[in-house]
């Protein structure tokens, strides 16, 4: 799925944030579009509607969610090319390679650990029986 974005949006955080803003939300989008987008927001057990609009306010304000704001984090990746097809492909390949290396490391770790435990346990049992 491809979306074409004007270059200024990728380059400039302030342009991006003014496009993805509370203003756009309330004046540019239609009622049915807002309703559709609301489905992608988290669901709260109580005061769902109020919490959802609170969430939107925090999101568009650029407030911190979890070590950053989702919109700002998105822009950082966008600017870094994370979403352009070629780069995305190589990032995913790189991730897979790192993951394979990790699996390998885990294997080595447990092989060594088993040896270590067998030897140490033997030593402790011997000491205890002396």
């Amino acid at each position: 799925q491809m979306i074409e974005l004007p270059e200024q949006m990728n380059e400039d955080l302030s342009v991006f944030m003014s496009v993805m803003s509370a203003d756009t939300w309330s004046t540019v989008l239609s009622e049915s579009q807002r309703k559709h987008l609301t489905k992608f927001l988290p669901t709260f057990p109580e005061n769902d509607a109020a919490e959802k609009s609170d969430t939107l306010r925090h999101l568009f304000n650029g407030d911190n969610f979890k070590y950053g704001n989702p919109l700002k984090e998105f822009h950082k990746k966008l600017k870094g090319g994370r979403f352009s097809p070629d780069i995305a492909k190589y990032i995913n390949l790189c991730r897979k390679a790192k993951h394979r290396e990790y699996k390998c490391q885990q294997h080595i770790y447990y092989t060594n650990l088993l040896k270590e435990i067998l030897i140490n346990r033997q030593r402790i049992l011997q000491t205890a029986s002396m």
Partner: protein, 345 residues
Amino acid sequence: MSGAGEWCLIESDPGVFTELIKGFGLHLLGPSSWQHDIAHGIRVNSDACVKGVQVEELWSLDPENFENLRPIHGLIFLFKWKADDEPQGSLVMDNRLDKIFFAKQVINNACATQAILSILLNCSHPNLELGKDLTTFKEFVMTFDPATKGLSLSNSNVIRSVHNSFARQQMFEFDQKAASKDDDVYHFVSYMPIEGRLYELDGLKEGPIDHGQIPTETDWLDVVRPILEKRIQKYSADEIHFNLMAVMSDRRSKYQKRIDEINQLIQSGTMETDDLHSEISKLELLIKDEQNKMDRYKVENIRRKHNYLPFIMEMLKILAQEGKLVNLVEKVNGKPKAVQQALVY
């Protein structure tokens, strides 16, 4: 390793961690200052214990975020997998190992429990007292090497049964697609101050990692912050999801304990009760505050853990489809330049 099947996987939710700690029968003594504060010099029995250490998730490293949670006894990073990294500090191989509880990761599923135990068994905070089971366990394994400590932990029936009482309700919040198809396990790294130095306890390393002296008059949290920042940056760059959790004193049970003590004083009828009644209402207010804060926390958790990428993509898509993106950019920034492509994934 054998025995892994007997350890169930539990979720990384702070609430589950909190219950897990209670399950270990940990006791928290009221701050000693209370014993001095009590009017008319009546002494309170210091054997009286309060159960209560709790775990809260951290969403930012801002000092004010830490402020609300003090005192923090230790911090736990949890993540699904990581590339091997060079430790920032130096590996402890000397006789400090006799004093620091450090166990190697033997059973993966036990990692949440091991993360908490690493902090509890090393915590010397005056308010904190280990229950009987953990004290016995600590004494039993203290002279063992890290690998045998890990083995003993995984063989401990007491610890395992507490752990297993928290059967997994759901997979980790992380990467649910990946979780269903591969068998990745979870890792933890704990950070805590021990005898004036900052240590990192990572069960996959050969020993504790020493991050150096905590300067006097300095809060250990200020020393650990830049180290955490570096780690978070690395995880974000590698798109590895993580949780950062704080093990802290449970204020509610502290206040409740004090109320119980005052009620006893009132019943004994040996002293003026007006002051005591007003202290009780003050404490009840504080408990209510904490309760409100915790309720708020649950809502915040839902908000902060959500994945907003689909929302952002969908909003961009709608705006792009109707050609509104170009208009909007034009409005703030003059005529749009060339059009770039973005990939939705």
